[in-house]
């Protein structure tokens, strides 16, 4: 410690500041780890039972049935018109959309809030009532069986064309049916595609279950006709943000609660809030979950059951769209005509879909011992109140648990493993500067190895064991031929053949990045399987010794750092560490004793694989001294967004009036403005250090102002000279404000130009080889 500190001081005057932070943080870790040790010394049997419980291998999963099979053999029309009589909660009679609106408008909560708003603003009560009514009108669903039948018919046709099969676990359906009868039910599907909610309703209709009402983003309303169709099939629309609008919140929450409490229909929403463009689960949004749990917490219903649903697509319809979006090509606005243009997708093979209805989770059971429901005893329950700290953390924990439950039942296809391997190989190639690809038999061998490993980690892998591995590999590759090329028995990542040749090097780069990011999204599907072991592997890798404490500290640091990136339940550091140890010990990769964590002889391969799983993310969060851009995937705006969120959370940077500003002793606090004729730049410097003193996390970000200025040149479509000039100006500014000696910036730094519109990653003073060449050409 002392030597570390001295070296810090030598290097930079800021070190003492950083160190104090570092120490605090260490102290925190020691506290954490004392808990860990206590638990390790605890009763052996208890620990064992715990471990058994956590061993993912022991998880029982249901069998799947293909629901398209019947559709291929019988009339779609008859299916769409068949008798549909779902069983409802405690046999309630369904309520018309109009009656439901009345119930909401007459509720005590709406009355109260209307009165409150009237008092605050001086507006007439009638006026506000009308506004509430208008909000409800805009929001409310108008579920109609005829529309559902229309969708049942058309979707049957569409699904049969697009997909080979739609597999559903029927036991899950039975559990759901049971749950719907006994308790209000909330359906929580994962969100990877626009398809998700149509698919959900389609499945429930097919199995004669109550049709859900679905919370949808307002953006759908942009598609006039389609928006109304969706409304009539059970969607209700909520604004993406309504900040402090009390009335909106009241109407919205009362609407959801009324449907839930009375059990008129299962309520469905996406915990992740939006479609994950990366196939990696997004950290959960709590608003709707809060509302859904409220009736239970306030004692208005005996229980609420939450059903996580995992929808896994073998190929996502929006695959290439997402990659472009992540690279800053603007997301096309939802429009009806856009939807029709998307017809092109109809001609392709998208493999199969697996939908797994998870075990219903009882909110009552979940809250046992965690929430004191008595806290609502002293104020009338219809008066809206900000959730207490206790409830907030309960809802947060539950949300993470539910997203993990979704992850656990995601079906992985062999291609996911291949994509992981090909990506790692691709990065290796890039580092060595040669694009050689991977021999097919080598790929097969590695895939089989990875198959076994992932199974041991509890992956829900659909690998056809009766088919010889080479065939599995080749059929997977052929389904995804848009992303790989096979030449002379070697496989490598490449963009689709046959497209018109790229217009310039930028387009070439973009196209390459799209391919990589598409692949990344497949690899990401398996991330949750490897995440905890990978964090441990990286911690082992980074640690200077095999001391368990140090490795734990490192693990904890990484885990904390990545908690915006991955689904890591808050406060579960010790459990995650134990789980990671357990898995790696079980597979013989590590030997863990009371004091030490040692990599075994055969463990090196596993650890190398795991470390490289996490490596792109590590790179994305840092610019390492004297290193070059290696992973194209750090261009992903998702990664940058998460990195920034993490740095903010960790206190490395601060938000100042909506901007991220300096927080460094040598640079005045506040955003730095630099006016130039063409670009008004706001520079933001983010900086953080790891446990390992030699690694500095530095990222520099340009604010949205710059983005506005640079928009004409986005996606390399504009004039290169202008762009380069701005770049150079920028580098000058950087040098003015951040002296090389402070951060050794002269060696390298990274610039992310805006997150959404334009992305260019370059290596400051010395460009990476490839880019330097290209720059020379320009």
């Amino acid at each position: 410690m002392t030597t570390n500190r001295e070296r810090h001081v030598e290097r930079s005057p800021s070190a003492s500041y950083d160190c104090s932070k570092f120490d605090l943080w260490q102290a925190q870790l020691y506290m954490d780890s004392s808990c860990l040790l206590a638990s390790l010394h605890g009763s052996d049997t208890l620990l064992f039972a715990d471990m058994q419980h956590r061993d993912p291998m022991l998880q029982k999963r249901d069998e799947f049935e293909d629901m398209l099979e019947e559709r291929r053999n019988s009339s779609d029309l008859r299916y769409a018109l068949r008798c549909y009589t779902p069983v409802l909660y405690k046999g309630v009679t369904p309520c018309t959309a109009g009656a439901l609106k009345n119930m909401v408008l007459q509720s005590a909560q709406i009355h109260f809030v209307i009165g409150q708003v009237s008092n605050e603003t001086g507006r007439a009560v009638d006026d506000i009532q009308e506004e509430a009514s208008a909000i409800l009108e805009e929001m409310a669903h108008s579920l109609q069986l005829s529309t559902v039948r229309f969708f049942a018919f058309t979707l049957s046709k569409v699904f049969k064309t697009l997909f080979r099969s739609i597999c559903v676990n029927e036991e899950g359906i039975q559990r759901l049916q049971q749950a719907i009868q006994e308790h209000p039910v909330v359906l929580l599907p994962s969100h990877r595609s626009y398809m998700d909610f149509l698919l959900m309703s389609y499945i429930l209709y097919t199995y004669d279950l109550a049709l859900p009402v679905i919370a949808a983003g307002m953006d759908f309303m942009g598609m006039k006709f389609v928006g109304e169709m969706l409304r009539m099939s059970g969607a209700f629309f909520i604004r993406r943000s309504f900040g402090g609008d009390k009335l909106y919140w009241a109407v919205f929450s009362e609407y959801v609660k009324t449907m839930l409490k009375n059990g008129f229909a299962p309520v469905e929403f996406f915990l992740e809030g939006t479609r994950s463009r990366t196939s990696k689960s997004l950290t959960p949004k709590l608003g709707l979950l809060n509302i859904a749990m409220d009736p239970f917490l306030k004692g208005e219903v005996f229980d609420v059951h939450l059903v996580p649903v995992s929808i896994s697509y073998e190929r996502i319809l929006e695959e290439a769209l997402y990659a472009r979006e992540l690279l800053g090509v603007p997301k096309p606005k939802e429009s009806t005509s856009g939807l029709f243009k998307a017809r092109k997708v109809l001609s392709e093979d998208y493999g199969s879909i697996h939908v797994y209805f998870g075990q219903p989770v009882s909110v009552r059971r979940l809250s046992q011992g965690k929430v004191d429901r008595g806290q609502f005893n002293l104020t009338p329950r219809h008066i809206p109140k900000r959730p207490s700290e206790e409830i907030h953390s309960f809802v947060n924990d539950s949300a993470y648990g539910l997203v993990r439950a979704q992850e656990e039942n995601m079906v992985l296809k062999p291609w996911v493993l291949l994509a992981s391997l090909l990506l790692q190989n691709h990065h290796g190639d890039q580092a060595s500067g040669r694009a050689r690809g991977m021999a097919l038999d080598e790929l097969t061998e590695q895939a089989v190895w990875l198959r076994d490993l992932s199974r041991q980690y509890g992956a829900f892998l659909h690998w056809p064991d009766h088919v010889p591995p080479p065939e599995v590999v080749s059929s997977s590759l052929s389904l995804h031929r848009g992303l790989v090329t096979i030449t002379e028995g070697r496989v490598q990542l490449a963009s689709e053949q046959g497209e018109p040749p790229p217009v310039g090097p930028e387009e070439e780069l973009l196209r390459q990045a799209v391919t990589v990011l598409s692949c990344v999204s497949y690899r990401n599907q398996a991330l949750h399987v490897f995440l905890r072991p990978a964090l441990l592997a990286s911690a082992v890798h980074a640690a200077s010794s095999s001391g368990k404490q140090e490795i734990f500290n490192s693990f904890s640091f990484l885990r904390n750092m990545f908690s915006n990136e991955f689904i890591l339940c808050p406060g579960a550091t010790v459990q995650d560490f134990e789980e990671a140890c357990f898995l790696l010990v079980k597979t013989g990769a590590l030997h863990v004793s009371q004091q030490e964590v040692v990599v075994t002889e055969r463990g090196h391969r596993t650890l190398a694989f795991l470390t490289s799983v996490l490596d792109p993310f590590l790179q994305g969060y840092q610019v390492r001294v004297r290193s070059r851009l290696r992973y194209t995937e750090v261009l992903s705006s998702d990664l940058q967004k998460n990195a920034l969120a993490a740095l903010l959370r960790l206190g490395a940077v601060r938000k100042i009036k909506g901007y991220v500003g300096f927080d460094h002793p040598r640079v005045p606090v506040g955003s730095v403005e630099y006016a130039r004729p063409r670009a008004r730049l706001k520079l933001h410097h983010l900086e953080f250090i790891s446990t390992n003193e030699s690694v500095w996390f530095v990222a520099i970000r340009v604010s949205t102002d710059v983005k506005q200025q640079l928009r004409p040149y986005s996606a390399f479509g504009g004039k290169h000279e202008v762009f380069i000039r701005i770049m150079n100006e920028f580098i000058q500014i950087m040098n003015e404000f951040i002296r090389p000696t402070d951060f050794m910036m002269s060696d390298s730094f990274a610039v992310f130009f805006s997150s959404e519109t334009l992305l260019l990653k370059c290596s400051g003073a010395c460009w990476s080889d490839g880019e330097a060449e290209r720059r020379a050409r320009l």
């Binding site: 004692g299 208005e300 219903v301 005996f302 004191d372 429901r373 008595g374 609502f376 009338p380 329950r381």
Partner: protein, 588 residues
């Protein structure tokens, strides 16, 4: 309309009253069950249910529907009997404080250390207490029973107890359902049960002020009978009034069925005299209300025998009602019934009406405590008023008392309100029966215990807006917990609203289950009741409306009244009884 051919003209006339309680209560009362020894339900040789004895209107009658209901609701079987094991010899010999006994002898106050007397006073009527007695498991019991005859006897006994450090547990009617009478197992001193039953006189009646000064050991039925002889009544009629005592009412903050007319015990008492280890506490006058700091009566009301013995009470009395009218209303469902009760509580001045019960009284499982009586009625209603789902309808029982004109006026008002909530007047007979049933229901539990069925009722008070939610959630919790704990038969889990207030209501829950196949049914029972109580608290219900805390609900006291509240109570206890002479350890 009725399936039984008897009439009840007045609720109290059904009680064939005995004159006062004897020293050895076990001579006329069950020591391991409810009420009089000669009155009990049984299934006769023909398999018909019968109520024995001569004391009640129901006595000597066959109750036709009971067997079916009993078997249907609990899955009980008449072949599976679980009779009590009679084993009163298991009582441990008394630990006597010789010096205390010697001095007690010289005062001339009667006492006994006979095993039967001691066991009788060791328990209340919680399920676990009765179950243990039936199985012949007898734990710590009082070592001595004393029968003071008047206030001065009590003063002497308390002085002696202080002098010799003897633990005193006051004993009134013995109808506690909160483990309040249980002797703390950790008590090493000699425990003396102070039986107040011989202090049972009305000392005077003041017709000018309409008050009566009464010794606290008098039981409800005697008090009412004696007052009636002079043309008065107190109007305080808890379900247990046949056996519970005035002192007990004061010590637990009791509530009666007619409280909407007459008030609860705290509204009825004008003056209280209590003997404590520090001396006698009483107010200096009988003024109807005082502003003299916190009301010291409220240290006594609800003190549950932890501070002293209540010896004499001045109570408000009223002339016997000129006119009385029963009534009942059938509602299509419980929700409507509750909404109606709420509206009635809002609109009708509470002076002369009473709404006493609404519950799933006719719902097969539920009602069916009442089914035998109401079967015929139910059929008529189902046919007569189509649209009432027989499984959901519920009945409210009414009693109007007072001046004839007012009664009729209020009756109309109440029925009008009821009609707005879909309620249909269901006649006087049903009202009367519902009222009368209160007194025999308690006997039913003993019948259940003969056939592996265990049951109990518990209560709470809750704001109006939570009544329906709490009913739904607690009932569901009971069913849920039974399932979790391996109870093989669906339990009886039901409720009724028994009292209405301006700001809320009192709700009773009934819980019974067939415990065949369970190795430790009492434990299961206790766990379920515990869970149900947690559910009540989580849903905004109180720890108790009138049963009290005793030792059964002690664990929730501090969260109920806050730590400061507990501190206040404790500091009173520390001052009044520093040596814990009144050592029953109730409340906290």
């Amino acid at each position: 309309m009725s399936c039984l051919n008897f009439n009840v003209s007045h609720v109290l006339s059904q009680l064939n009253l005995c004159q006062y309680l004897p020293f050895h209560r076990q001579e006329i009362m069950k020591w391991n069950g409810w009420g009089y020894s000669d009155s009990r339900f049984l299934f006769n040789k023909k398999g018909q249910a019968e109520f024995t004895g001569k004391r009640y209107k129901l006595s000597g009658m066959i109750i036709p529907g009971l067997k079916e209901w009993f078997e249907g609701t609990f899955g009980a079987n008449l072949q599976h009997k679980s009779p009590p094991i009679l084993n009163s010899s298991a009582v441990r010999p008394p630990t006597l404080n010789e010096a205390f006994v010697e001095e007690l002898k010289s005062t001339g106050v009667p006492f006994s250390h006979d095993a039967e007397d001691r066991v009788f006073r060791a328990y209340g009527h919680c399920v676990h207490e009765i179950f243990a007695l039936r199985e012949g498991r007898i734990g710590r019991v009082p070592d001595l029973v004393v029968w003071p005859n008047c206030h001065n006897d009590v003063v002497k006994i308390v002085e002696l107890a202080c002098k010799h450090n003897v633990c005193l547990i006051p004993y009134g009617g013995g109808t506690s359902v909160s483990s309040a009478l249980e002797c703390p197992s950790e008590e090493t001193r000699s425990i003396v049960s102070l039986d107040t039953s011989q202090m049972n006189r009305i000392l005077w009646i003041d017709e000018k002020n309409l008050t009566a000064h009464v010794e606290a050991g008098i039981v409800g039925q005697d008090l009412e009978r004696l007052l009636n002889e002079s043309g008065y009544c107190t109007g305080h009629e808890p379900d247990s009034m046949e056996f519970s005592s005035l002192g007990g009412w004061v010590a637990t903050r009791a509530s009666g069925m007619k409280k909407n007319i007459y008030g609860n015990i705290e509204d009825l008492v004008v003056h209280i005299k209590m003997v404590t280890p520090r001396g006698v506490i009483e107010k200096s006058c009988q003024g109807p209300r005082m502003s003299t700091g916190p009301d010291v009566h409220h240290f006594i009301l609800g003190s549950e025998g932890t501070l002293g013995v209540v010896t004499e009470v001045t109570m408000k009395i009223r002339p016997m009602p000129e006119y009385q009218k029963y009534g009942s209303v059938v509602f299509p469902n419980f929700e409507q019934g509750v909404a109606c009760l709420r509206e009635v509580a809002k609109q009708v001045t509470p002076d002369f009406y009473l709404i006493f019960s609404s519950g799933h009284a006719l719902k097969p499982q539920v009602s069916s405590i009442f089914t035998s009586f109401l079967d015929g009625l139910k059929k008529i209603y189902i046919t007569k008023f189509k649209g009432f789902d027989p499984n959901r309808l519920c009945v409210a029982t009414l009693l109007f008392e007072g001046n004839r004109e007012k009664v009729l006026q209020h009756e109309k008002q109440v029925y009008d309100i009821a009609a707005k909530f879909g309620g249909l007047a269901a006649g006087e007979d049903n009202g009367q029966r519902g009222y009368m049933l209160t007194f025999v229901i308690a006997y039913l539990r003993d019948l259940g215990m003969d056939y592996y069925v265990m049951g109990e009722s518990f209560e709470t008070s809750v704001p109006w807006d939570r009544v329906l939610d709490i009913c739904q959630n607690v009932k569901a919790r009971i069913v849920h917990e039974c399932k979790e704990r391996g109870v093989q038969f669906t339990p009886l889990s039901t409720c009724r609203v028994t009292q209405t207030y301006d700001a809320g209501a009192c709700v009773y829950f009934y819980f019974g289950f067939n415990y065949r196949g369970l190795s430790d049914p009492v434990h299961v029972y206790e766990q379920v009741e515990h869970a149900a109580r947690e559910e009540i608290l989580a849903n905004g219900g109180s720890l108790s409306h009138h049963h009290g805390v005793g030792k059964l609900r002690k664990e929730w006291m501090s969260e109920t009244v806050s730590n400061v509240g507990i501190g206040m109570l404790k500091s009173v206890k520390d001052y009044v009884d520093p040596n814990n002479i009144f050592g029953n350890r109730n409340l906290f």
